[in-house]
């Protein structure tokens, strides 16, 4: 049990480090109060003073740091400079949208990617294998926003099959089912874009992991006793799936930040678009909150992947 505790402690330490670093990162450029004022241009001089005081930006850094840690531990990430809404409210509204995109595309990439990887490893050296490997490398090399642009151009502009962006038709009124159908139509292109962006890694990892296992003694034995090919493959795959499981967990860790560009391109109201707009408007509390949640998600996902490894693979557990 000891290594598990140690891993949790390291993750917690990293989290604390992020918390502290986060505070200083957004103050490198100076006190953010000028940006607060820019976000509220119509206030009088007295109103500005009051607002700055209310946000604690007239305090020393040490007091500001105390307020920041205190707020964060209470799940409150401060108040946006732009919308004057609590940052947590804005993030809670955006998070489900991102989860839909990243969740579905991770699932698709895992399924299709591992299937292609298994196919490639089972037919190593064949033209099919070469084709799969080369095209996954090509997919890996494509900037995801460019994939999105090409998809929008072809499927939305030329063919007119899907909308070009946003989460649903603005201004239209729908029944519940009709709304869901509309959202699904809007989500299709971003999901395909994200899936293409991450599928290459799954193919490569599945292929090399299975190729490794195929060289092990038990596979040779299974072949030697005359098991049919597909049953040999099934046994080998079960032993090779672990890195893919870990990769899925790690991909999900990027749930908050991984879709920034795609969300921006498709105007999809998720965490990525939220942070992009926050950056454009120098809305530090929002940036700070998104940054913290994004890092926390990665840390937690890595920890889960790590623990899953320990749990699922007895060799890792004992070593």
């Amino acid at each position: 049990m000891k290594p598990v505790l140690k891993k949790c402690a390291v993750a917690l330490g990293t989290l604390v480090f992020v918390l502290v670093f986060n505070f200083f990162l957004f103050r490198i450029a100076g006190n953010p109060k000028n940006d607060l004022i820019r976000g509220n241009p119509r206030l009088s001089e007295a109103g500005r003073e009051r607002l700055i005081h209310q946000r604690g930006l007239d305090q020393g850094y040490l007091t500001q740091f105390r307020i920041y840690v205190d707020d964060t531990l209470h799940g409150d990430f401060g108040t946006s400079f732009q919308t004057n809404q609590p940052v947590s409210t804005m993030m809670w509204a955006a998070l489900p949208n991102t989860l839909i995109l990243v969740g579905i595309s991770t699932l698709l990439a895992t399924l299709i990617g591992s299937w292609l990887g298994i196919y490639a490893a089972a037919n190593r050296g064949s033209p099919g294998d070469t084709g799969v490997v080369q095209s996954s490398l090509f997919f890996y090399a494509m900037p995801d926003f460019w994939v999105g642009m090409v998809l929008i151009w072809f499927f939305a502009v030329e063919v007119g099959l899907f909308p070009t962006g946003q989460k649903s038709e603005p201004g239209a009124s729908f029944s519940t089912l009709g709304y869901m159908w509309n959202v699904a139509q809007h989500a299709t292109l971003p999901i395909i874009t994200l899936t293409i962006g991450i599928i290459g890694q799954y193919v490569v990892i599945m292929r090399s992991s299975l190729a490794d296992v195929m060289g092990e003694d038990f596979v040779t034995t299974a072949r030697a006793i005359g098991l049919p090919r597909h049953r040999v493959l099934r046994r080998a795959t079960r032993n090779a799936i672990l890195p893919v499981v870990a990769l899925s967990a790690i991909t999900l860790g990027f749930v908050v930040s991984g879709a920034t560009v795609v969300e921006t391109l498709f105007s999809w109201p998720g965490m990525g678009l939220l942070s992009y707009n926050a950056i454009l408007n120098k809305d530090y509390p929002v940036m700070q909150g998104v940054f913290l949640v994004a890092s926390a998600a990665v840390i937690v996902a890595n920890l889960i992947a790590d623990l899953a490894y320990t749990y699922l693979d007895p060799r890792v557990r004992t070593s």
Partner: protein
């Protein structure tokens, strides 16, 4: 994942020819080996092609996009004999922008990867060689950089450092380079550290210790030559990632518009509505070029990795 490399024995042989002599000999040797890998050769030719375009860009380009004469009223015009890849939203020749963007994309990718290599190399070697609390604290920093999501950090850094761009040579371009380099070294240092850990345990290092060699001498003469090939291969792979990172930052409008790269082209294409206007000649070519260049560096990087670590070759 630890990478155990058997290069150690080979790399300690040519000690007499000086640093550059060894580098030249090593490069020639690598090139010969590269020819044995088909995909490595493909990658190598891609790189040669784009390098030539980058060097001779101003001579090949039909127009100088910076000159005011290049602007015209033919906005988003389809490809024709006058403009092989059509025109963009200001009526400028897309092919010329593409050719001159090669230079920027390559310079940013390579320089950022060099920044990563230097930081990752120094941190990885120090952590692996000195061990103890130095290793622990450096690994903690490394862990942190590994879990930090790249894009938010890069975006925050670019927007924070942006106002100071004028103090630096090449303005905002150097900020983009620095930010990509500073956020991209964690993987490198992890690999270098494990290599140093394994080199440190080898007999020849122990012998030098016993003979009273100084720490610095061992680092310079025995550790460094044995990790340099690995740093080299890794840097080539990081170049590919840095080029992608640059295109992403530029696409989000954080690049240097005075030095337009392929990513900047995609950004302006998107902003000017080229996608909904169906002007495919404007946004397809830059994306394809990014793709090809990234593939080129990745293929060559993999090939070099296989040369350094023959165990990978057996697995293929």
């Amino acid at each position: 994942m630890s990478v155990e490399s058997p290069t150690a024995e080979r790399a300690e042989l040519p000690a007499e020819r000086g640093f550059f002599g060894r580098m030249a000999a090593g490069t020639a040797h690598s090139l010969r080996l590269l020819c044995t890998s088909k995909s490595g050769m493909v990658g190598f030719f891609i790189l040669v092609f784009f390098t030539l375009v980058a060097i001779f860009g101003p001579l090949i380009a039909p127009q100088d996009p910076a000159a005011s004469s290049s602007y015209s009223s033919h906005i988003l015009a389809a490809p024709s004999s006058a403009h092989l890849l059509g025109t963009e939203e200001n009526g400028r020749d897309v092919l010329s922008l593409l050719i001159l963007g090669t230079r920027i994309s390559m310079i940013v990718g390579i320089s950022a990867a060099l920044v990563s290599a230097v930081i990752g190399g120094i941190i990885g070697i120090s952590a692996g060689f000195f061990g103890g609390w130095i290793d622990n604290s450096l690994t903690a920093v490394d862990d942190w950089f590994l879990v930090i999501p790249f894009l938010p950090l890069a975006i925050v850094l670019v927007s924070l450092l942006g106002p100071r761009a004028s103090d630096l040579p090449f303005g905002k371009l150097s900020i983009v380079i620095l930010v990509i380099g500073v956020t991209g070294w964690a993987g490198t240092s992890r690999i270098i550290r494990s290599q140093v850990l394994s080199v440190k345990e080898r007999m020849f290092v122990e012998r030098s210790h016993a003979l009273g060699a100084s720490t610095f001498w061992i680092l310079r003469k025995q550790i460094l030559p044995n990790v340099l090939p690995l740093i080299f291969a890794n840097t080539i792979l990081i170049i590919a990632l840095s080029i992608l990172a640059e295109s992403t930052l530029s696409f989000l409008g954080l690049g240097d518009i005075t030095h337009p790269s392929w990513g900047t082209m995609l950004d302006t294409a998107n902003e000017s509505g080229a996608v909904s206007a169906g002007a495919w000649w404007y946004f397809i070519p830059p994306g394809l070029c990014i793709c090809l260049l990234v593939m080129g560096f990745t293929l060559v990087g993999y090939a070099i990795e296989e040369i350094i670590n023959p165990r990978l070759r057996e697995r293929q």
